[in-house]
Amino acid sequence: MRDLTEKALETCSKEGASYADIRIVTIKDEDISIKRGNIQALNITNIKGFGIRTIANGGLGFAGSYLVTPEEIKRVAKLAVRIGKASGATRKKPIEFVDVKAVEDSYKTPFKKDPFSVPTEEKIEILVEVDKRLKEYNPDVIKMTQSDYRGHREEKIFASTEGAYITQQITFAGGGFSCTAISPGTQPQRRSFPGSFRGNFSAEGYEYFESLNLLENVEKTAKEAIALTEAKACPTEKTTLLIDGHQLMLQIHESCGHPTELDRVLGTEAAFAGTSFMTPDLLGKLQYGSEHVNMVADSTSLTGLGTYGYDDEGVKAKKVDLVREGLFVGYQSSRETAAIIGLEESSAGMRADNPQKLPLVRMVNINLEPGDWKRDEIIADTKKGILMSTNKSWSIDDKRLNFQFGTEIAWEIVNGEISNIIRSPTYTAITPEFWGSMDAHSKDDWKLLGTPNCGKGQPGQVMYVGHGCGTARFHNVRVGITKEATATDGVQ
């Protein structure tokens, strides 16, 4: 492979590029889904290809192809330089990168059981059994069942004209299940385990999927789905809100992860995902949250979906403060964006979801650092409130200020104890007000969770990212916001 990468970089230099890098990537993905007792998906994907990024005439160019042959690499290298030159012509000043130490290295996320060595039959067997037991729990009410497994592996080579040559292997696996209870005259109610949207994932091997103990959680999950059909609706009020990991992760993702992506802050996503309220003039000044809020972007923490040795620009993984004791102190960045606002180095946040896609600033593991509390202590310390779990819906504005979330389930908290189940819970708030009201975060149920579904960029890319968190408490939050809309129950 090294002769191919060298040829590519040589061609770029010869064509007039001042910088070039090439990524040659193979992706293997196993996706299994059982729905209502049937195979919904059983698919193996193999992607191979390369992408060449250049700076020419001060502009950035990128081109890729599926065909990893010397002739095609030469054609694409020339095209990437030509595209760079065309971009450069529109720039006011040439693109600049902060320095990076060019290294030769290799890295591998650790695993005990290779997900691609475990027979597919074994995975199917577990999923089918989960699906069957969900249905059997109460065939009259549990109408919709689904169980999922996914294993993923990327083998990446990165080489640059600065002399870097890095090989990496990233592996993740995971899964989960969900069921929907329907009883006459009530709304369908879904309940998922361990999280919604096909479960939870971790940069480990098959042992992570096994550790989820899906079968042991069938009964509790089905029971909750059925209980939701009889539960009372979420009240409309301002209250104390407790959120556990499988909702808190998405709260962190949307209201801290996205707005601290520096490319987004600088306007790169203005026409698509949006911009950010966390602008450079607020760095070190904005009180983002209460003194209990500490958020980091950490690509070094083991088992996270945002864990790697080097990013797709060859920058070594690191841990960067985003919010420290409530104060906004840092960004997720790239070599280009760091240079624009005068940072010394990139946060190592660049990743692409496909060999033929341009790396973008992507979340790594965006973690809310553990607090001093135990989950039970937070509940015991709450006189009146609502505990919400498992994301169901989300929507947030393009500056990441105004958000609205819905979860699968909630419980009333009365005098320090978990009480009645609440259906269709929703809450809405403004980002700094919301995090400003956080006064407790737990450590005992703190977990590094992962979602493989983060969309960004044009053309679109879907990235897998991690979020570490436990259970947190917020005050004076507006809940039950769909009351106006649910008042249309009478409409056919």
Partner: protein, 458 residues
């Protein structure tokens, strides 16, 4: 990109033959060649600029009712052979899919339209330099509108695709086509406030993109956006520009009209087919043969012929969109709406039209007593799909309209409302507009009641 039907046929036949050797009782192969390029603007420069070349071969093998599938991005025979073997291996160990009856048999495709008309030579020959020229035109046109314009963002792109779907029962479906898009978000700033405007266009022929018109329209919206005010949440009349209507229709068709969503108890149309749920002014259908749409197609992602699908006629819910699997489950025929995405598939009607009316934006504004004018929505999502409740935010321009006149621009608004409620009555439907700012062909419309659930204070 050069089309090469013979190459695709040769590879397709190879896959089917290998599948048969491995014991497949039925097999399907999809070969897709795709060249695309996209120039992305930000801060009034070309910020990202990319080109891709893909070749994907997806193989589905059935052994009885057991199915295995693989998707690979390679074309050489050895790699293809491996992929087919893997699909066969999976099929052998897979549990039976009880709903599966058969892949579709040989099909006749519409001769109303010709695939040669799907292709524009100009798009095939588009260059990075042409995209850069368009980018410069977009940037200059927008900045010329108003001194306060401070950033042009967006994307200019084109694509060429060639698809072959073959199966062991005799389906042989070949299609090619080109497309192009411009979408621009123009930002303006006066030292106190930042505003945004948006517009877009889609064309088969890259050189026909209305770059200047899109840039000027987006810039004018940004320039007209200063002096934004807060609006108290509540129920208002609403004027939806075509892009706003198109966005709503996407969600409505995805969550409501897909037979899979229906069978999964997610659709808000459950047990309501045949009911009059919407205003009798509303006619919604899917028709991939309609030449008014930018993109046409002869068949769906399993090679089944497309057909016109009446979805809402005079407010009455008519039909769901089916593919063969969901159709077999309900004992009906596929409507030709299979859509495959990342190894999964579902029926989805994506060639949408709403019949237009005689009104226009000016008349709608004049007829509005207490309402809002919306350019388009951002970040829409289903809050409760079984009740048709969706949420979303206004973006790139929303204005308050009172007693027939636009009063002032509004800060970001959030709507949370059920389509079953807000489309139950429609005041006015306009004529189609010039730009193809969504891929659906939809007119602007005015609704009497739309629920704003949240409003940005500052």
């Amino acid at each position: 990109m050069e089309f090469n039907k013979e190459l695709l046929l040769e590879k397709g036949q190879f896959v089917l033959k290998e599948a048969e050797k491995l014991g497949a009782t039925q097999a399907e192969v999809t070969i897709s060649m795709r060249n695309s390029a996209l120039t992305r603007l930000a801060n009034s420069i070309i910020d990202q600029n990319v080109a891709e070349r893909h070749a994907t071969v997806s193989t589905i093998i059935y052994i009885g009712k057991k199915k295995g599938s693989t998707s690979v991005e390679v074309l050489d025979k050895d790699s293809l052979k491996q992929a087919i073997e893997q699909a066969a291996k999976i099929a052998k160990i897979s549990p039976e899919n009880k709903d599966f009856k058969s892949l579709p048999g040989p099909q006749k495709y519409s001769t109303e339209i010709s695939i040669e008309d799907f292709v524009s030579k100009n798009t095939l020959n588009a260059t990075p330099e042409q995209r850069a020229e368009f980018a410069t035109l977009a940037i200059d046109s927008a900045h010329a509108i108003d001194k306060r314009i401070n950033a042009v963002a967006g994307a200019i792109s084109h694509i060429a695709v060639e698809n072959l779907i073959m199966n062991s029962l005799g389906v042989e479906a070949y299609e090619k086509g080109t497309g192009s898009n411009v979408n621009l978000t123009v930002l303006a700033e006066d030292g106190k406030e930042q505003t945004a405007g948006w517009s877009a266009d889609n064309r088969k022929d890259f050189t026909e993109l209305h770059i200047q018109e899109v840039a000027e329209k987006a810039a004018r919206k940004a320039a007209d956006g200063f002096g934004m005010k807060y609006l108290e949440p509540g129920e208002y009349e609403v004027i939806l520009e075509p892009a706003a209507v198109g966005g709503l229709m996407f969600f409505m068709s995805y969550f409501g009209f897909s037979a899979m969503m229906y069978q999964d108890y997610i659709s808000f149309l459950r047990d309501k087919i045949g009911d009059k749920l919407f205003s009798e002014k509303l006619n919604l259908w899917d028709d991939s043969f309609d030449k008014r749409l930018v993109y046409q197609a002869l068949f769906d992602d399993e090679g089944y012929p497309k057909s016109k699908l009446e979805m809402i006629t005079k407010g009455v819910v008519k039909n769901l969109a089916y593919d063969t699997l969901t159709a077999d489950k309900d004992g009906v025929k596929s409507t030709g709406h299979n859509a495959k995405f990342r190894g999964r598939s579902m029926p989805f009607p994506g060639n949408l039209l709403i019949s237009d009316g005689n009104s226009n934006l000016d008349e709608m504004i004049a007829e509005t007593k207490n309402g809002i004018l919306v350019t388009h929505f951002h970040y829409q999502n289903a809050v409760n799909p079984t009740k048709g409740i969706f949420t979303g935010l206004t973006r790139d321009g929303a204005w308050y309209v009172k007693n027939g006149e636009i009063q002032y621009p509004l800060r970001t608004l959030r709507y949370t409302d059920s389509v079953l409620k807000f489309l139950a009555n429609i005041d006015l439907i306009g004529k189609y507009m010039d730009l193809n700012d969504t891929q659906a062909k939809v007119p602007p419309m005015k609704l009497p009641a739309f629920t704003i659930s949240g409003s940005q204070k500052e």
